[in-house]
């Protein structure tokens, strides 16, 4: 039998799907090879020594062998299982969102070390957040905003927030944000884009600060809650426009945030 082509890589497991009797197909995110799809064999059996290392949202050192269609995981040593995320619904739903965004914005065989680093850092920060039961709204929103903003920068979708995307001038007076144009749009040019929304002075300032620093820096800034909610909804709209679809993890995150209730599962008579 010819020697299989083996390679080593660190990876964060983004998602898994059961395959056949006891296998799982994993979607990995790696610093050097971008997204990688690989089979982990036998890991659904309790006797598998690998099962604990190939769970979604686990960071692991892996030995993989190149396959024709899918690669195969030969070994996996966990580096971090982000224990503080597990069993915590606010944190888990946020981590699902982080993973789904990476999955949606990256492709296979495309190196992106900074994005990998960004994901790992954000998961570590998520573990450290204090969850007061309501998900400590402010810090969760800021962490998500800094995660989204960093991800947009690192995948080439940084919004233009210094000049009008149409006329190129620094806007004076009231401005809008255009998801379709990917940035600021001044009052005079506003009709040239289809998807626009008014942008408050405070939200523009927050977008600037998001470019300047990460979560640790943002946390020290005195944002009003309505400003961070405005930025959250703006970034979401922009991401929705870029992906042309809603993310399932966004609606799950929102339902957890609104409070889990039996109301949504009541029969409505049909």
């Amino acid at each position: 039998m010819p020697q299989a082509h083996l390679y080593r890589s660190e990876a964060v497991i983004l998602k898994q799907m059961s395959l056949g009797e006891a296998d799982r197909i994993l979607t990995l995110f790696t610093p050097l090879y971008g997204k990688v799809r690989a089979v982990a064999k036998g890991v659904r059996k309790p006797t598998s020594r690998m099962s604990g290392s190939v769970e979604p949202l686990t960071r692991a050192n892996m030995l993989l062998s190149k396959g024709k269609d899918l690669d195969v995981v030969s070994q996996a040593e966990p580096i971090d299982v982000y224990m503080a995320v597990r069993g915590d619904l606010e944190k888990t739903s946020t981590s699902f969102y982080m993973a789904e965004l990476i999955d949606a914005f990256t492709i296979e065989q495309s190196e992106n070390r900074s994005l990998y680093r960004h994901l790992v850092n954000s998961l570590e920060t998520l573990c450290d957040l204090k969850n007061d039961g309501l998900g400590n709204i402010r810090e969760f929103i800021l962490l998500r905003a800094s995660y989204e903003s960093g991800l947009l920068n690192m995948t080439g979708y940084r919004p233009q927030i210094h000049r009008c995307i149409e006329c190129g001038l620094v806007p004076q007076g009231s401005v809008s944000f255009s998801a379709s144009g990917g940035g600021l749009i001044c009052q005079r040019c506003r009709n040239k884009q289809t998807v626009t929304r008014p942008l408050s002075v405070g939200a523009l300032k927050m977008l600037n600060l998001l470019e300047e620093g990460g979560f640790a820096f943002l946390k020290k800034q005195p944002f009003q809650e309505d400003i961070s909610l405005e930025v959250e909804s703006l970034l979401r709209q922009y991401i929705w426009y870029l992906l042309e679809r809603n993310l399932k993890s966004t609606s799950f995150m929102d339902s957890v945030r609104r409070g889990v209730s039996m109301d949504r599962f009541e029969y409505t008579g049909q």
């Binding site: 395959l19 056949g20 190939v54 699902f96 339902s255 209730s261 599962f265």
Partner: protein, 204 residues
């Protein structure tokens, strides 16, 4: 891909290979192997297999109570008056019911969710059989809910979600005792582990 090599095959053979290939865990190679095995099979045996497949589709339905797959609705467990109807054990898949039944340690009811919350695979709470569970619990007969969901990240999120969902009803909630290896599937747990897990369930 291998399918491209199927051009020169007899049409019925290619078609069967194609159908097998759609099944979970069956690659192009296995699909071919299975097909050639069937080609050599005696006609009566092939007939029996075809009938078995059809009767699964025609005679199997889901139990309106526990959502498990069954031939009769309600299923044999839900219609068994000797079993404890005040307890419901919530599991991910029908195979988990079989696994727990093999322990003979549990005499209550079941509820099959048919999955776990997994937004990355486009499965949210609304895609599980939670609506049906809500209406069963609102009936007022059930006093205890046992969450026997796989200890995976998605499984734990689902268990926590259900725990919050039913907290207002004030019924007793428990989870299987720890000891099942993280990331593994319940249906593969050995009997001892599984028996201890269900006997040692803890209040939450």
């Amino acid at each position: 891909m291998e399918q491209n090599n199927n051009n020169h095959l007899a049409e019925p053979v290619a078609r069967l290979i194609d159908e097998f290939n759609k099944l979970p865990g069956i690659g192009p190679k296995s699909a071919q192997r299975l097909t050639y095995h069937l080609v050599r099979m005696p006609a009566e045996q092939a007939q029996a297999l075809a009938e078995a497949i059809l009767s699964v589709k025609n005679r199997i339905t889901s139990c309106s109570e526990c959502q498990n797959i069954t031939e009769h609705n309600p299923c044999s467990i839900c219609s068994d008056v000797k079993r404890d109807h005040t307890r419901i054990c919530v599991v991910e898949e029908p195979l988990d019911v079989l696994a727990l039944e093999r322990t003979h340690a549990y005499k209550g009811m079941y509820h099959v969710l048919h999955g776990v919350i997994s937004p990355m695979n486009a499965i949210g709470p609304d895609d599980l059989k939670l609506r049906e569970l809500v209406s069963r619990l609102k009936g007022g007969v059930v006093t205890e809910l046992i969450l026997a969901i796989n200890p995976t990240l998605e499984g734990e999120a689902t268990a926590t979600y259900i725990q919050r969902l039913f907290a207002p009803l004030g019924i007793q909630l428990s989870r299987l005792a720890r000891g099942l290896p993280a990331g593994s599937d319940l249906e593969y747990a050995d009997l001892i582990t599984l028996t201890r897990a269900i006997e040692g369930r803890q209040k939450i």
